[in-house]
Structure formats: structure tokens, C-alpha cells
């Protein structure tokens, strides 16, 4: 995946980042809200694509970790209103879950793996739905504060306004994107791609394939958990729906739209996803049928995704 003209690309990215920082000054409140959601979905989808595009594992259950991240953040913020803790706790909880569920899943062939991820994702949903005492059941948890960033006793920064929260999400997302970029261009990234291309060959190159799949799965879970944790303070509520398989479909569609084999694909796709959703939801409440139709259309005709037009093969 060589960059065509690194300087030009870097300049473009730099401009984009600058634009993102200036965004709240230029657009209205609703657009900032949308931008936050796009950033969250980007993080979510990057994790998904590490598994799919880079490691060759298709997971339909990432929403399970998204949900765990969101609920963990919620429980923490309701007890200790500290955003650092909330986000960190959400990520950690999702990571632990990913290690456990990953261990059970990665030892299987790809089809089996995909089936298992759907099942495990829905297991998380079921627990969120039924465990009233802990998760609030189908009502979920409400009144979650948009807690300040705080180092107890030393420093505290309120992020109660949407603008301030936008900057939190922006900085965290940019860090996550940067980390993922470094990761896929690292020896680890190379190893994962080799596993994707030929598991047996990788095995004979000395790579313990299962272990590396588990690593990829855990990282994807961490990213999903981060995305979920970032969502909670935005909405101030969590409901079981965020762990449902229809939520798992969102990073899938975003990645397909933007391009599976391009690093920036999931990010472009997240943007396109919300643009499409925004349009469709104005006409009908039946958004899933359109989501499904787009997935079908992409698979049948246009698997490269939009961003692949711009990337060198």
C-alpha cells in the first residue's frame, strides 16, 4: 500500500485536520454534532477494518465491544464524574472482553469466526437488554453526565458544551487514527496482512497465526470500545440498541463504502455513511432496508469502495 505522492497526501491531510479544528467556528450546532458522530464511527470502523481489510477476519459483532465500552463509561461516569476514567474504563472493559471472546473465536476458520462474532455480539446485546439491575434493561441508563476532564486535585476542564466535547472527540480520534496508521505500517501490520493473504504461508514463515489474530481482534475491540465510550457523554444515555447487530452493520457499511484496502477508507466511508443516512432518514423510517440494499449493491458491483479510486493499487 504505497502512498502515491507522500508530500501531497500529507499536505491534504494537514489541511483537513486544520479544517476540522476550525469547524465549530464555521458551521452550526447540528453539523458539529454530525461531525462528532462521524469521528466516532471512523474510530469504530478503523478497528473493524484492521480485522477485515488487514487481517482477513470479518466480524459482525463489533457492536458488542462498542456497547461494552459505552456501558462501562456510563457506569463509571455515574459513579465518578471524570472523563479520563470514563473513557479509559470503557476502553479497558472492551479490551478485556475482546481478549476473552477473541480467544474462543480466532482458532476457527473464517466462516465460523464470522458466525461466532455475530453470536457473541448478540450475547452482549441480550445481557444489556435483560440485566435490568445493572444495565437498566431496555430503558438503558440515563442522566449520564458529560463529565469534565480531570486530574483530581490538580486540573479540571469542563467539556459540558458540545463545542468543547467536539474538541475532546477530535483530539482522541486523531490520536487513535495516528496510532492505527503507525500500526498498519509496522511489522505487526505486515504480519497481519500476510496472515490475511495466506494463513498457511504465514505459519511456515514462523508466525503463530492464532496469537496474531487475537492481537488484531483485541485491538479492534479496543477501538470499538473507545468509540462507544466517546458516544456516551455525547448522548448522556446508553440503550441496549448500541450492541445490536444492526449497529455492527455500521462499520461494515462504512468500510465497504469507503474502501476496504485503503487506510483512509473507513474514515471516508464514515463520512459517506452519515451523509447517506441523513438523506434517507428524511424520507423514511425504514433505514435498515436501505443500508442492506447498499451493502448488497456494493458487494455485487463495487467492492473497491470510493477511496480506492484515489489510491494506487
Amino acid at each position: 500500500m504505497a502512498d502515491r505522492s507522500p508530500r501531497r497526501l500529507t499536505a491534504l491531510v494537514g489541511l483537513l485536520v486544520l479544517a476540522l479544528f476550525l469547524l465549530p467556528w464555521v458551521v452550526g450546532r447540528y453539523s458539529v454534532y454530525l461531525a462528532i458522530q462521524i469521528l466516532i464511527l471512523s474510530v469504530f470502523s478503523l478497528g473493524f477494518n484492521l480485522l477485515f481489510g488487514y487481517t482477513g477476519l470479518l466480524s459482525f459483532g463489533q457492536a458488542g465491544f462498542f456497547g461494552i465500552g459505552a456501558y462501562a463509561c456510563a457506569k463509571i461516569l455515574l459513579a465518578v464524574p471524570n472523563l479520563f476514567l470514563g473513557l479509559g474504563g470503557g476502553v479497558a472493559a472492551a479490551g478485556v472482553a475482546a481478549v476473552v471472546l477473541g480467544f474462543l473465536s480466532v482458532r476457527h476458520t473464517r466462516i465460523y469466526f464470522s458466525m461466532l462474532t455475530l453470536a457473541f455480539g448478540m450475547m452482549v446485546f441480550s445481557i444489556a437488554w435483560k440485566w435490568r439491575d445493572f444495565t437498566g434493561g431496555d430503558d438503558g441508563l440515563v442522566g449520564i453526565p458529560r463529565a469534565p476532564l480531570e486530574i483530581p486535585g490538580l486540573w479540571s476542564l469542563s467539556v459540558a458544551t458540545q463545542e468543547r466535547y467536539y474538541y475532546v472527540v477530535l483530539v482522541v480520534s486523531l490520536l487513535a487514527i495516528w496510532a492505527m496508521y503507525r500500526l498498519v505500517h509496522s511489522p505487526l501490520g505486515l504480519t497481519l496482512q500476510a496472515i490475511r493473504d495466506s494463513e498457511s504461508r504465514a505459519e511456515f514463515a514462523g508466525v503463530p497465526v492464532r496469537t496474531y489474530r487475537l492481537i488484531a481482534f483485541t485491538i479492534a475491540g479496543l477501538y470499538a470500545g473507545l468509540a462507544g465510550a466517546l458516544l456516551t457523554p455525547l448522548e448522556n444515555t446508553v440503550t441496549p440498541g448500541i450492541a445490536h447487530w444492526s449497529t455492527s452493520a455500521e462499520p461494515v457499511l462504512a468500510t465497504l463504502l469507503g474502501g476496504v484496502h485503503v487506510f483512509g477508507g473507513p474514515i471516508v466511508g464514515a463520512f459517506l455513511f452519515f451523509m447517506l443516512k441523513d438523506i434517507i432518514v428524511r424520507f423514511t423510517q425504514y433505514w435498515l432496508i436501505w443500508l442492506g440494499a447498499i451493502v448488497v449493491a456494493l458487494v455485487m458491483g463495487f467492492r473497491g469502495g470510493v477511496a480506492s479510486i484515489f489510491a494506487r493499487r
Binding site: W245, G292, V296, M300
Partner: protein
């Protein structure tokens, strides 16, 4: 518990086992279809559960809303879903057989999304359950309790399907062709089998089995959107436990899960939901290839 209560307790257990057995039959019907399709075409149709759901909705429409005779309603729903399966296979899946199986999974995942909303658009939300057809109504006295005749009917259908499938694949000409195609499609092709047609046929057959499961549930189970996804997950878990592609395994696993779930509801209602996942996790840990793996 007093000794004197023991016989009652045993009766309860036996009765609950029968309930579980009838529940297992729905799982069996949907898993059988999934297993057969996988065994021959080597694909997993994620939307298989949605076909179960369509079978239920169609049967409800024909029997519950249009008032057609029960057997006719079931037949029509099988045909309807069979047609849907044909469209899925011929129109879409067939065109992407050669490419990465991940895209086949993505395609069928897209189908779930479409079908789930489609039923909401066409039929709206949740329904009343229609009356049980009179000749299957009533209850028998079994183990000191009332065992609905309809449950016995479902068990009978399930067992009949099991025997029928065995006979089909072991004894008939079509069954042998299907088995040959399943084990080596190039060879089958070389000896003159029309492999694409066998694929379509098997896909439709498997889809109709799922529809049968859905349709049978019409007078006793609530038909609602979302059961498609719930059922496919149950079918997955059955195949994990029984071994992917293994029909006998699917039958036994359905029995295990159905009966244990019934006991779960009786003794540990809180964990009943979790139970099926717990069984799967245990199997994954101890015997990952399934209980009856080849």
C-alpha cells in the same frame, strides 16, 4: 424436598423434557436447512433465519388473516420462501461464488437487513397469535399434566423430517447426486451432474426447511420482526455444537439445546437466556470442531 414429592418432581422433569423436545424441533428444522446448504454449497446464508421468519409471516397471513386451511397455508408459505430462496441464489449468490467467501457473508448479511425491515413495512409490528387448527387442538394427559396436542404434532413433524432427510440422502437418486456434489463438485460436474442446478435445488430445499420451522410455529409462537436474527444465531450455535455440515450433529445438538433450555426456564429463569451461549462456549473450549465433527 420430601420423598413423597419425588414422583411429582420426576413427572415435572419428564414433562418439561417433552416441552423441550417440541422446542427443539424448531431449532432442528432451521439448522437442518443451514447444514444442508453449507454441506453442498459451502456457504452460510446469514439470512437463513430471516427465511424462517418469512415462513412464519407468510403462514400467518394465509392461515391467520386469509383463513385458508392450515395445511394449505403451510404449503403456500413453503413455496413463497422457496421462491425467495431461488431469487437469492440465482439472482445474487451465484454471481459471486468465485470470490472471497467474506463477500458472500456480507451479501447475506445485507439480506438480513433488507428482510428485517421489509417485514416491518409489509406487516407492521407484532401480532396476535391465530387459533390452533381444531384437529390439532386440545391436550393429552401426560405425566400428570396437560400436554398440548400441537406440541406432539410438532415433535412428530420434526422426527418425520429427520427420518425423511435420512431416507432422502441415503436412498434416493436425487439424494445421491446431492451427496456426490457435496463431496466433490468437480467430479460431479465431470460425470454430467448439472452442478448449478443442484446448488439452486439444495438452496431452495434448505430454505423451505427453514420456512417449515417458521410456519409450524404460527399457532403457538408470536411472529415479530427480529426473530430472523435471533433464529440464525440459534442455528449457528446449534451448528457450532453439532459440527458444521453435520446433519446428525445438528439433530442431536437441537435436542440438547432445546431440552436444556426448557429445564433452564424451569430451574434457572435468569440464566436461561445465557444458557445457549454458555453451552456454545463450553463446546468451543473443549471440542472446538463440534461434538460430531467429521
Amino acid at each position: 424436598m420430601l420423598i413423597a414429592e419425588l414422583p411429582d418432581f420426576m413427572d415435572d422433569i419428564a414433562f418439561q423434557g417433552l416441552i423441550g423436545l417440541s422446542m427443539a424441533m424448531y431449532l432442528w428444522l432451521i439448522s437442518a436447512g443451514l447444514t444442508i446448504i453449507f454441506g453442498v454449497l459451502r456457504i452460510i446464508n446469514f439470512a437463513h433465519g430471516s427465511l424462517f421468519m418469512m415462513g412464519a409471516y407468510l403462514a400467518f397471513t394465509f392461515y391467520g388473516q386469509l383463513g385458508l386451511p392450515f395445511w394449505l397455508a403451510i404449503l403456500l408459505s413453503l413455496l413463497g420462501v422457496g421462491l425467495l430462496g431461488l431469487v437469492m441464489e440465482r439472482g445474487f449468490l451465484r454471481r459471486i461464488y468465485g470470490i472471497d467467501e467474506a463477500y458472500q457473508l456480507l451479501l447475506t448479511f445485507g439480506f438480513i437487513l433488507i428482510l428485517d425491515d421489509a417485514v416491518k413495512i409489509i406487516w407492521g409490528g407484532v401480532f396476535k397469535i391465530p387459533a390452533i387448527p381444531p384437529f390439532l387442538d386440545g391436550a393429552w394427559r401426560v405425566f400428570g399434566r396437560s400436554f398440548p396436542v400441537y406440541n406432539a404434532f410438532v415433535i412428530a413433524v420434526g422426527v418425520a423430517v429427520a427420518v425423511g432427510l435420512w431416507a432422502l440422502f441415503e436412498k434416493t437418486w436425487w439424494g445421491r447426486i446431492v451427496r456426490a456434489t457435496a463431496s466433490d463438485r468437480e467430479m460431479a460436474n465431470a460425470i454430467g451432474v448439472n452442478v448449478p442446478r443442484v446448488f439452486s435445488g439444495v438452496f431452495v430445499f434448505g430454505s423451505m426447511l427453514a420456512a417449515l420451522g417458521g410456519a409450524l410455529g404460527t399457532p403457538v409462537r408470536v411472529v415479530a420482526p427480529g426473530i430472523g436474527a435471533a433464529m440464525i444465531i440459534q442455528a449457528f450455535i446449534i451448528t457450532v455444537i453439532g459440527g458444521l455440515g453435520n446433519l446428525k450433529g445438528a439433530f442431536v445438538a437441537s435436542l440438547i439445546v432445546g431440552i436444556l433450555s426448557a429445564y433452564g426456564t424451569l430451574f434457572f429463569p435468569v440464566f436461561e437466556l445465557f444458557l445457549i451461549f454458555a453451552i456454545m462456549a463450553v463446546v468451543l473450549l473443549l471440542r472446538p470442531q463440534g461434538l460430531f465433527a467429521r
